[in-house]
Subunit: 105 residues, 2 copies
DNA sequence: TTACATTTGACATTAATTGTCAAGTGTAAT
DNA sequence: ATTACACTTGACAATTAATGTCAAATGTAA
């Protein structure tokens, strides 16, 4: 498959690849290094603004990163739910239904 | 299709079908009628506990109602997101991947 | 051991959710 | 047309969850 890495792993890998320190990147994001550290280890979620800024700083594809990020938010909603998987499928059905009636994408 | 009604619509229809007033049901839920009114018109989200209690009060299938409810929560997360639909698909992929490696369901 | 990057956890701040209340609207008797 | 009652609306209060800071702890490489 393809979407196997977490957002945090992606961020950390790319940051290290570029030789940047937490301190450098967190300064640009205007947050404490502690938070970025936690984001990279999936102990905290980033905000959408942070994700967008991180994509810029680290030269990551914005759309991919956002998709990654949103999919984690979705899974977070249902992580303790026995019926989560079914709910996901229903959400997709509804999604199709909505976009069909509104046309587009 | 099948999942065309919102949770709120389901709740209101069933309540009226049973001839119950907002005041009756909201008393059992231990909340103000105003909130239940809003829940039924999809102006507010219910809590999971409220959903479970409503299923009991109104003799609705718990699993179906929960699935309905969770799917709305999921859609709420991505409602303003251009890439929401793609994120949903990725979430499903990840879900499969997870349940494959953990076995079950 | 000093230097520095990262991690950890206790706590503060802020934002979102959930709730109350009181006044407003609609409708159907009387 | 006034009373009665179900429901709705919006301003605001309370509670809970998310986001952040800070200082001390840990790891690692001079």
């Amino acid at each position: 498959m393809k979407n196997n890495k977490s957002t945090g792993e992606i961020l950390r890998e790319k940051r290290e690849e570029k030789g940047l320190l937490l301190r450098h990147v967190s300064a640009e994001l205007d947050i404490d290094t502690a938070i970025l550290s936690k984001i990279e280890r999936s102990e905290r979620k980033a905000t959408k603004e942070q994700i967008l800024k991180l994509a810029e700083i680290l030269n990551l594809d914005k759309d991919n990163l956002i998709i990654q990020y949103l999919s984690e938010k979705i899974l977070y909603e249902i992580k303790d739910e026995k019926l989560g998987s079914k709910a996901l499928k229903v959400a997709e059905q509804k999604m199709k239904y909505i976009s069909k009636n509104k046309s587009g994408n």
